[in-house]
Symmetry: C2
Subunit: 258 residues, 2 copies
Amino acid sequence: MATGRTHRPATRSRGIPEATVARLPLYLRALTALSERSVPTVSSEELAAAAGVNSAKLRKDFSYLGSYGTRGVGYDVEYLVYQISRELGLTQDWPIVMVGIGNLGAALANYGGFASRGFRVAALIDADPSMVGRPVAGMPVQFIDDLEKIVAENGVSIGVIATPAGAAQQVCDRLVAAGVTSILNFAPTVLSVPDGVDVRKVDLSIELQILAFHEQRKAGEETGGEAVLPPVVRDAAAATPAEGRKGPDGDMPAVMPA
Amino acid sequence: MATGRTHRPATRSRGIPEATVARLPLYLRALTALSERSVPTVSSEELAAAAGVNSAKLRKDFSYLGSYGTRGVGYDVEYLVYQISRELGLTQDWPIVMVGIGNLGAALANYGGFASRGFRVAALIDADPSMVGRPVAGMPVQFIDDLEKIVAENGVSIGVIATPAGAAQQVCDRLVAAGVTSILNFAPTVLSVPDGVDVRKVDLSIELQILAFHEQRKAGEETGGEAVLPPVVRDAAAATPAEGRKGPDGDMPAVMPA
DNA sequence: ATGTCTTTGTGAACGCGTGCACAAAGATGG
DNA sequence: CCATCTTTGTGCACGCGTTCACAAAGACAT
């Protein structure tokens, strides 16, 4: 079984759909804001607006957690904050290690949003000896040789990878071998992990490319006619051996056989 | 229409499903790696493994782009790189502005993955006067008052927001008013935008919380029995007025009426 | 207590995405 | 030219997620 799983394997734990789980942090953030303003209760409509989702979806999401909420009134903000926090496992704190303290890693380490909710950066790890010992976010960078020891001693089960792409899989393997079972990957690579290990990836470049696609589509629609360029027949450009992509832009004639 | 749309409005442009669009950059990356190794052709099975997806899914994805690929052989790597690049709009280059040059913003500006594929950082913008003029990633930071001018002069249609949460909506509004129609948001806030503007968000905290959920679930399953805690009845904790959340952890008795 | 009004919780329908499984297409060898 | 083998392209079925629409539940006023 060489090519390990990268997808979430199914994950509907007790029946809470994955899509719902992904929205719970959103609700929690909106609720926390309300809580800080001492708002006692909130309706599904209001909260949905604050979280940017459909109100029916929000109610259904909450129904998976149980029947909180009072008809005719809405939801008790504090109570809901507690329930969602508990459901997400944020009532305990999670020690995490971050591997790869370059530009991005250092920025993430300094990012307050990390420690804010139940997460505690237990260690920063890098492979560059000249980096070791230097303080980043008030914490000395440690050498990668100690990775296993650090994970074990701190009981770390969540790791963040912010290394270059080339090192990511190797670091991932070591983290998993050391006992880490959840990985947040910022390196632009597909990670292979054994079953039982969750990987979530954050890729800036991919997000931009998706935006570019929609942007191009919008630009095309504006100019009308020739905008939505038709499929291109294969043989036309198959002639571009191993060097193509030099035509201006929307070249290559149409004609789709069948 | 106060609460603008945050979701992708439908987006199946010419019929290319959103899920497929989101995978195209993945394929492109895998193909580029093959291209650099001068691999001439690749089968759907191999490419799917490299991209971490199902091979049938990959073939179906490609079928939306048209019928490239030769039965019995596979896909021409160079040709496919070109087609996907064109479909994603990467044959032109996209000037982008980045607003908020703090820790994260600076790291993103330095991140090579940005400029690599058709994207060009046209300007770095910040609201802190002490930041203005300082070079970041070989480019002087500009003051936020010039935002509109910068966007207009450079023909920017994609903006990246890396400001604190409090400033994000304000910056977003100015970007949109200036003509930006795609936004990549790193600030932990829900942005309201008018129709026609796409927003994608990247939230480190949310990703970690999702991992924590699964992590807690795994830990619960290991210890067996009491792990999957049953739904909690409302009234038990409804007594916690506006101050609750102090119980140890898995307190509150079960009992679900109906 | 009764009626009205607000808001939740959810049944049901619909649409999208996924993956299986296979026929068709083309390459390759004799 | 025919047979065989590989790999694509896709019809189909299934399951998940979203949304509508409404009955039930409770608050609140009379």
